[in-house]
Amino acid sequence: MSECIVVTSGKGGVGKTTTSANLAVSLALAGNKVVVVDADIGLRNLDVILGLENRIVFDLVNVIEGECKLKVALIKDKRVPGLYLLPAAQTRDKNAVTPDDMRRLVADLKKEFDYVLIDCPAGIEQGFKNSIAGADRAIIVTTPEVSAIRDADRIVGLVEAHELPEPMLILNRYRPGMVSRGDMMSREDILEILAIDLLGVVPDSEEIITSSNRGQPIAFDDDSPIGAAYRRIAGRIQGEDIEIPDFTPKTGFWPTFKKWMGLSGQEAY
């Protein structure tokens, strides 16, 4: 049975596209046939995060307007079997697509793929309505900040108004060191306020920047704790029962000494 999942947040810049890319990679690494759709028409970025920007010929709007076959527009990722990207149009605007178009597109994709991931644009207007139209469930990405959680709360309401099941939360850019110092809301605080289920926690890391520099999603990296966090989330999406670790930073002499010496620029997990 195939499933369409929309990755959304309300607020921009919380990591929707990075999350979509890494979950798509992780689901494909687990042996699924996955397509990730960039629904941010006019501001496409998912191709860049995936490192596939040089291979785009056709896009989502071309498919919807019947200028090319769906299969022709899909870009196959050569690093893992079963991973495909449907890029957004860069030169059009969000009104080029309607919710009905998206419902038809998703229905076609679900015939071919186990998972259809939709990378939703920021905001709650047309792009959001398009993204959510064909989805079976929603993942909300937020960061531990007042503004991001406020927007996430609004999205929870909108998702439920669209008669989708209760969305699940990914808490991104979490900094356990700051939480233990009392300078960041804890995941318990955030779950208490949003009252939805937690799908996963992704700690803040410089690795996200370096991986986006290279167009190589961190989920490909077997040794990265951040990559492992994404792979665990993908496992939970597939219905596996995997515990969410608490990411307490390693303290003690050596980790602290290394951090001082600049050997690792961040908290170790």
Binding site: V146, R181, M184, D189
Partner: protein, 91 residues
């Protein structure tokens, strides 16, 4: 110096506890978002209601509490007006 040694051995240094500010501000925002009433509008409502109360009783204006509160799935308007004495001479 002690602080430096503490840091060396990985004892977390004390933050300024800003997360509780964040949580409080967030709760306040979400309640106001849900009822679609800004703090300024809530204040207007409070003033109008207090004007009515004033016609019947004398109260301590400084001690008035007036806020939105989110309980189990519902939002309540909570107010506490400390009455000084009942105004019997109303016309």
């Amino acid at each position: 110096m002690l602080d430096v040694i503490r840091k060396m051995f990985g004892q977390p240094s004390k933050g300024n506890g800003s997360s509780s500010d964040a949580k409080q501000r967030l709760k306040f925002l979400l309640v106001h978002d849900e009822v679609a009433l800004t703090p300024a509008q809530l204040d207007m409502m409070k003033n109008e209601i207090m004007d009515v109360i004033k016609r019947y009783v004398e109260f301590d204006a400084e001690g008035v509490e007036f806020r939105l509160d989110k309980g189990d799935g519902h939002i309540a308007l909570v107010s506490n007006v400390p009455v000084r004495r009942v105004n019997n001479t109303r016309d």
